[in-house]
Amino acid sequence: MLKTFKLGGIHPPENKLSKDKPIEILPIPEKVIIPLGQHIGAPAKILVKKGDSVKVGQLIAEKGGFISANIHSSVSGTVEKIADIKDASGYPKPAIHIKVDGDEWDESIIKDDNLIETISYEKEEIVKRVEAAGIVGLGGATFPTNVKLMPPPGSNSEFLIINAVECEPYLTADHSIMLKRAKEIIVGINIIIKATGVKKAIIGIENNKPDAIKLFENIASTYSNIEVCPLKMKYPQGGEKQLIKATTGREVPSGALPIAVGAIVQNVGTVLAIYEAVQKNKPLFERVVTVTGKKINKPGNYLCRIGTPIGNLIEAAGGLPEDTGKIINGGPMMGKALINTDTPITKGSSGVLLLDIKESKRKEQNDCIRCAKCINVCPMGLEPYLLMSLAENNNLERLEEERIMDCIECGSCSYTCPANRAILDYIRLGKGRTGQMIRNRK
């Protein structure tokens, strides 16, 4: 029997409309908008000013703290202005606006596609290169990757787990790069093995991608320390804790990091970025994004520069459908709804999903009927109905006791609730306040 995680989980319709579409290269836009905060942690510090000319891959903002990431220009051209844009929640966030002129790459980047297998750098140098390239978790978490490659002293890193699950419905970006760049990904895995000293790498792939499973099983068979682990489909298998449980059977303790059970998890797209950074000296300035939706003409996977307005991608996929009701940055379960199509693609954008008006409207909320279905689907073993009502009453002490901080915000509870309760909305609110309370206590 195929492995999967035990507790909870749901099976939303897959809707992988773009799963057979090869990666297309999106034309470089006329203008890009590169936000300074594309990662978890401190925003990057700006290094350029209005009027400066920049090249592709040039450092334009440097990491603003230990947990932060460098940002590079994704185009060549002139800095037009440094001005705020509105993020998904409507808050103003600083960004560098660059007017494009040609496509001149920084000379240090190796531009060809030749596979370089020999890893000629030592541990420290690898981490340094990853850090310099501004790599963050591309699965959407956007945690700085170099930090994850330096396990705290005293910890025992046993497994590298490659997250190739892509359990969000609709999204196929990871799938498309796995088919196209498998060899590079395997080299990337070897780079991380070298940097972290793990004994074994496990590639977790859900069984809805049989072609990718076969391909990787073939290539991995020549490496004794790389193993492909086909997984039974279940959302949210791409959650770090769920993936570790599914592939190794180990359970990360509440409040702890994966390294507590000897695991380091990297998204498969991040692995490719690591390959490019270490072997090709290429900073992270482009990524593959799925553009999808039932009403869209040409759903597909597009390689695009960071900072490309989402509208350009939608145009490439056939234009914004008439009755679009929601524009989502990411997948339908955890993505963020955007206010308009000017929003740029950032390092963490794995997809652009358009829902029509009917799909976008939330149904009316009813009283909780205590059916326990939210409990049965919660992958963290929480009681979403209870967290919801405690959050409504702002009972923070109880929320902490009932482990609200363990919620991974996967949305399985809201998805399932027959009373259409926006359970996760309440939980997010409660989680924010409870986190604040805990921080204040320290």
Binding site: P169, S254, T324, K326, P332, I369, C371, G381
Partner: protein, 341 residues
């Protein structure tokens, strides 16, 4: 461009709804309902109609005129209460008594707590127990199924003919000093086959074990309920009565008899599983089921009500909040013991 929605994730929904679940339960009750019409004839039909219509009517009236809230009758829950109430009364019960039962079930059992989702006790059982206490004579005179009568007795007498339920017959027999096997051998005592098919005296819905099992399977397949509560009740009753039966076969009937009579399956499948009034975690559901099983057997054998199931469920309903407090789901990443700090 149109109006763009910007609500937070998740952006999709399973499409499950209260209606789907409630109507699913209604469908699951149809086989038992049909068999009740077969066995008890037109009276059963009238009793069911009366119960359902008055539940809907009271829900509508009370919501609209007393609570001044929007009506909720389309969610199907009032219909369930109505059918369950009918399932829990003898077919000979005067219709006006059923109307009173419906008023108590909906008005006191459900809406006085704030409606669906907020009530503590199963509304239909509140109605039934109220009737049992207020109209004990009418509530315990059980017509014998027409099918059963026609074999042995002149069918013209159907309307006036009543008999006891198997449980009551057994209890009476034991009190008068007979042994279980000698009571069961009497020729008016139903066989196991009769019990399975519902060919016995009793309330409308408690007679046909087989129809209730069909409903259970339907609800499990449709994921309306999980197996925990019914299984816990059935196994507990089987184990408890099995032990008693082994110790003293003359005074205690065997497990199969207990499982097939007295509305045990009806209660285990349709009433104990009521979402609102049963515990939330799987562990809690098992504890609750075991509790109902134990209490049912105790009330049946040592108490004064042979039909102890209703009381057992109501008692455990009262414990549900406590069970929810102490039996939490298995948390991810928490070692076995340290659930509470």
């Amino acid at each position: 461009m149109n109006k763009i929605f910007v609500s937070p994730s998740p952006h999709i929904h399973s499409g499950d709804s209260i209606k789907k679940n409630m109507w699913g339960v209604v469908i699951a009750m149809v086989p038992a309902m049909i068999l009740s019409f077969v066995y008890f004839g037109i009276n059963a039909l009238f009793a069911t109609l009366t119960a359902v219509l008055s539940c809907i009517l009271f829900e509508y009236l009370i919501k609209k005129f007393l609570l001044k809230e929007e009506s909720s009758i389309t969610d199907g829950s009032a219909i369930i209460t109505g059918i369950l109430l009918a399932f829990n009364v003898p077919s000979s019960l005067p219709l006006w008594i059923i109307v009173i039962g419906a008023l108590v079930a909906i008005g006191i059992g459900k809406l006085s707590y704030g409606g669906l989702g907020n009530n503590v006790f199963n509304p239909a059982l509140v109605g039934r127990v109220f009737l049992l206490i207020s109209f004990p004579a009418q509530m315990t005179s059980w017509p014998i199924p027409t099918t059963r009568l026609s074999e042995k007795i002149n069918p013209d007498m159907i309307d006036s003919f009543t008999g006891a339920t198997p449980l009551a017959m057994l209890q009476e027999g034991i009190q008068s000093g007979q042994s279980v096997s000698s009571i069961m051998e009497q020729n008016n005592f139903p066989t196991y086959q009769d019990m399975l098919l519902g060919n016995i005296g009793g309330s409308l819905g408690e007679v046909a074990a087989i129809a209730i099992i069909a409903g259970l399977i339907f609800m499990l397949v449709r994921k309306i309920i999980t197996w925990h509560i019914p299984t816990a009740i059935i196994l507990t009753v089987a184990a408890f009565t099995g032990i008693l039966n082994l110790c003293s076969p003359d005074t205690y009937a065997d497990p199969l008899f207990h499982l097939l009579t007295g509305g045990l399956l009806l209660g285990a499948v349709f009433m104990a599983t009521d979402y609102v009034t049963s515990p939330m975690s799987k562990k809690g559901m098992l504890v609750y089921g075991v509790g109902i099983g134990l209490l049912t057997v105790i009330i049946r054998i040592w108490g004064s009500y042979p039909e102890g199931m209703s009381f057992a469920i109501l008692i455990m309903n009262a414990f549900t909040p406590l069970i929810n407090k102490y039996f939490k789901p298995k948390r991810f990443g928490i070692a076995k013991k340290g659930g509470k700090k």
